[in-house]
Point group: C2
Chain length 686, copies 2
């Protein structure tokens, strides 16, 4: 990516003498960087313009540079030829801003194919098309036609956004909060350079301490996840995924691609270590919170809240609760210490209500931050002319023995707030706006630590590699499932009344009697399932009924005790490859879409965290005296079927539905295995 | 409330000569209003201090005023006596800021009781205790000790907040967005003046165009709802309710009361016409959006989105989708008109992607706003030095034939954004920050219109008044339910085998056979329910089994076809009185808490909107070929049992569980009626 972001020279193809034209704006913007620059316009007769890429390369060479980067500002149709010329002149990277490619239909797609050919031929990388570009404020390198892009502040946040508009929006917003940008990139259509490429660059870029990721679509899921995993190993990544709702028609007009499955994308990004957020405001707060540094990886980090006003403190505590952030009760020792410092009427257990903060404020913050249960501290207050809160936090940081980060949010008259913000930025104290912002910032720091705790424990469960074969009826699928250590009911396959009666003798009634078929997916709907068979008469009746619907083989099996029905499945997502799904059985849960997703392979530790994310999680913890799920057992089941899909390319889908959680453990009551068909995609949830 | 907010004179009791003390800060702040002011301090020997309330009243009278308002700045223990003195001196309203009352425990509660006695004796109203006060910036009347409160901008938003801190926080934040405040009030402990009092004042206050409501607890639900209903009939109310999570211990330390049931409170506030929001950022965006005016009441208003950049536009469209805001496809005529104005590559169906906005921007906005399907328009763009977006919107407003409000959000370098914001404020154009803010603002305008459309149709269903009686077993409860027009299964009450066999002859097997009891609430758990009785042998076995568990009367009834099980209930909420609940049956939905609540009485129109708010709503629309609910029939059931509870004080609770939705209609398979016990509260959900 260096030819893009650290070029030794830049040529702007399609630079115009009219200052308002795209090419002229780009050239004027790039010129400020001090990197040798040449303007190319075959029809230009103005001074200084090169009439060809080759001439531009000579101009750049004369200035001691090399034309690493070509910024192409010509219409879509002229782009392939321009790329060829630039490659021939020595360019290694190209930025194409214009639209008119695959997002407009077949005609544009044809041009895009020619662009790809030229890239392959010239050994060049391309950013775009359909992007407003990128900026590296620290180098003064602003390859963007957005007015004001040169005002983005210098700093340590790297942005990789699907959309150039979102890239700029985030950069402006963060700059407004006093948080600068190391590099901001809008991917656009993403014909060549994609999120993964830029993530890899940002991961190793020393100026970048936090990465903001905005995603609309993804072509290569595994590459994206690998890049996120590599990046989160080194620095925090905060991810915003578009597409909760059906916005695909508009999305396609924008990037030429359908929005990626929102839920799956969020799940697997989180699993790869990214802090996944719901909207751009939360992204901004999370990035600012994490700019204060990570905390140690932990399954359940503790946060503390110190507030100058109880009402806003209650809003923050409520919001932290929604984000599963624990506010542990402070130790006796800490409470004694802050009890000496605070008026007696205030709440001091955590949240710590300081009343209106007084002179001992720094000591209170330091004492709370050093509590053994506290990993991160949020401080909220209205601006106070007599007490400089930011200085108090700075002094507290000096007193602190430990390293718990302290994040501050304030509200007050605009000018006072601006002064406090700039003091905080100067002191390196993360500073967000308002109760919600503080809760989001603290929650991001906690979530980043939680994800790393899971990640460190991640040893993926590998499945057995099996010979590909057909003939997967329920019995065979259950045998496979049993091989993974998942319990299945005692059962017999029978082809005659006599065998059925023998099975009845051997098994414990009541029994289930079902049609066995390799092709029939919906047994119940054709009357292929008879339950609660308690005597031989009922058995005969069921057997005969199955014969009349064409059964050749019949499964006779013991029924399980009552319990809670789960759905456990593994599939191949068209973008992210093997994934596992855990859901609650029954139509209500299905209608709600109460499902948790992970990519496979996965460790049992990661699988063990899945049930807690179900909306109906309480159901698995012994609901109204019912059985509680054995998390370790369930995790082994989940990781096992994930591993199986990974190890066996020929399996397309395996679903255990229901997996019944009983007082005696989990048992697979039905199992369906679908083998891979040639050239066949798989539907995913959205 | 006028003695508080439009006093003819103010005395500050406990005013100190030390300028940093609370009383001195208050007096200094109030003095700026120009309202005659007197400082009371019995021990003061400084010039100008009155040594008693009576002397203060004389000072105020000498300045041509009357001491309407007493601001009490003495410790809790001295407050009752101070109130008595002020009442005697003619004060009609008192503001008490200090803490140390019921929120600290029994000792404080005793003082609070004495305060109540003094109020009753003196015929005085009291705001507080434990609040930072109130401010009416338009009058320069700042009865607040918060530094910077005098910098709150003058405007048309009224705030009534549970917490003084939140009152100030919202006022500062709105001021920072260029939106001023008419009156901001922090209720504090709310010993006397509560949200309903202030809402009533704001509803009739001509300066106030939008009301922001922040609620932590509520003692008198019906009074609050009546106040919200009266206010929303005249102007929009946006409500933020604290307590999604268990924050009650901290809340109690703050206001002395438990947080109110969050879910019920939100539901009934919404039913009363308030736009209910999730956090303070959404509240701010909603208030700004509604400051541009309401749109006509409508069941399904249409919104349009015009964006300068597709990426942020996609974020906004996605967020609008989550908030159930419809973006109807624009008419052929509108699309033709904007097609003439926009470059051909952009998406123009709605959202309208203008590319980078050009000179025809005003015409585009006007054309979209005048589309027949469009009731409100959101416009988003990055700041553009060459195109003044706010002026474009203003020009568009002049061209517009209709009255659809246009709300603008922009992002860009801080200074440009500030300039655009102040231009928007000057032009009366609602201006919010960022994609999320715009979606929230537009959604608030749409939601306000939707709620009014329901409200106008509201003719509550009254229930029959019945003679109070005991003896409510399942059969009696079902008779009552049947009287409301809800279908119940054909059934017989039997006391002998012979009667059971007679019932078997008359009814259509399979049958359910159940114990009948006026006291037993959980029949199934004691083996009191036998289902699927298909023959006389099974009938005998079931009957005998019920005898062994003590059954004296037995219910024999026909079983219903399969379908979707709902839970329909009516209860008395300790705060809001009669409420109805609709939920999905089954443990999974119960664990998720998929329930919709309304206060009773309610119209069938309001009831008809309930199923759509269930998370599992899809289940009721013919899930996988299953039966679809007859909404009108279900609405009649809901409104009916609500009306019953309202008309019959002696009924505490009535629950139909399940109410089964079948292809032939809804049928009550079980019903439980609980009569009122003396002095007995009812649990509510949270």
């Amino acid at each position: 990516m260096r030819p893009f972001f650290e070029p030794r020279g830049v040529m702007v193809v399609g630079a115009s003498a009219s200052p308002e034209k795209l090419g002229a704006v780009m050239a004027a913007s790039l010129e400020k960087s001090g990197v040798p620059l040449a303007r190319v316009n075959p029809r230009a007769n103005a001074d200084g313009f090169a009439t060809s890429a080759a001439e531009a390369a000579r101009q750049i060479a004369d200035s001691g540079g090399h034309p690493d980067l070509a910024v192409i500002c010509v219409p879509a149709g002229a782009t392939p030829a321009a790329l060829a010329d630039c490659a021939a002149a020595g360019a290694r990277a190209a930025l194409v801003c214009s639209g008119g490619f695959s997002e407009i239909g077949p005609e544009g797609a044809a041009i895009e194919d020619r662009v790809r050919d030229e890239l392959a031929r010239g050994g060049m990388r391309l950013l775009g098309p359909n992007t407003s570009g990128f900026f590296a404020p620290g180098r003064g390198l602003i390859a963007s036609f957005v007015p004001g892009a040169h005002r983005v502040a210098v700093g340590s946040v790297g942005i990789v956004a699907a959309s150039g508009g979102v890239n700029h929006m985030l950069a402006f917003r963060l700059s407004g909060q006093g948080v600068g940008i190391s590099l901001g990139v809008g991917i656009g259509t993403g014909v060549d350079v994609d999120h993964a490429d830029v993530l890899a660059h940002l991961a190793s870029d020393e100026q970048t301490r936090v990465i903001a990721l905005h995603l609309e679509t993804c072509d290569d899921g595994p590459a994206l996840l690998a890049a996120v995993r590599a990046a989160t190993a080194r620095k925090p990544v905060v991810a915003l995924v578009v597409g909760r709702n059906n916005v695909s028609e508009f999305a396609r007009s924008h990037t030429g691609a359908l929005a990626t499955s929102w839920r799956t994308t969020r799940s697997v990004l989180s699993q790869a270590g990214a802090v996944v957020v719901d909207d751009e405001e939360q992204l901004i707060s999370a990035v600012i919170g994490l700019s204060g540094g990570r905390i140690a990886a932990s399954r359940s980090p503790g946060a503390a809240l110190i507030t100058g006003q109880a009402g806003p403190g209650l809003l923050i505590a409520d919001e932290l609760g929604s984000r599963r952030v624990d506010l542990p009760v402070l130790s006796e020792q800490t409470r004694q210490r802050i009890g000496e410092l605070l008026p007696p009427l205030t709440y001091q257990a955590n949240p710590v209500d300081t009343g209106r903060p007084g002179p001992g404020f720094s000591e209170v913050i330091a004492a709370v931050a050093d509590d053994a249960e506290v990993d991160a501290v949020g401080v909220y207050g209205l601006t106070e002319p007599v007490l400089d809160m930011v200085s108090s936090v700075r002094r507290a940081k000096e007193m602190q023995r430990g390293s718990a980060p302290v994040i501050v949010a304030m509200d007050g008259p605009e000018e006072e707030l601006a002064a406090d913000r700039s003091a905080a930025v100067g002191a390196g104290v993360p500073f967000v706006t308002g109760p919600l912002g503080l809760a989001q910032a603290v929650a991001a720091v906690v979530e980043d630590a939680r994800l790393r705790a899971l990640d460190e424990a991640a040893v993926a469960v590998a499945g057995p590699g099996l010979e590909a074969s057909g003939g997967w009826d329920e019995h065979a699928a259950k045998r496979l499932v049993a091989g993974l250590g998942i319990a299945t009911p005692e059962r017999r396959v029978v082809v005659s009344r006599e065998e059925a009666h023998a099975a009845f003798t051997e098994l414990r009634a009541p029994l289930a009697v079902k049609i066995l078929s390799e092709t029939l997916l919906h047994k119940t709907e054709v009357g292929g399932v008879h339950l609660g068979i308690a005597d031989r008469e009922a058995l005969d009746a069921a057997f005969d009924a199955l014969l009349t619907i064409g059964a050749e083989r019949v499964l006779v099996e013991e029924m399980a005790p009552s319990g809670i029905d789960l759905i456990l499945g593994a599939r191949r997502d068209p973008v992210f490859g093997p994934i596992v799904l855990l859901g609650i059985g029954g139509t209500a849960a299905e209608a709600i879409g109460d499902v948790v997703i992970r990519s496979a392979p996965l460790s049992t530790e990661i699988a063990a965290a899945m049930p807690d994310e179900l909306q109906a999680a309480a159901l698995l913890r012994g609901w109204r005296g019912g059985p509680a799920v054995d998390t370790a057992e369930l995790a082994a089941c989940i990781a096992g079927i994930g591993g199986l899909l990974v190890a066996n390319e020929w399996i397309d889908e395996l679903e255990v539905n229901p997996l019944r959680v009983t007082a005696e453990g989990a048992i697979a009551l039905d199992a369906v295995l679908v083998t891979r068909k040639e050239d066949d995609g798989v539907d995913t949830d959205n």
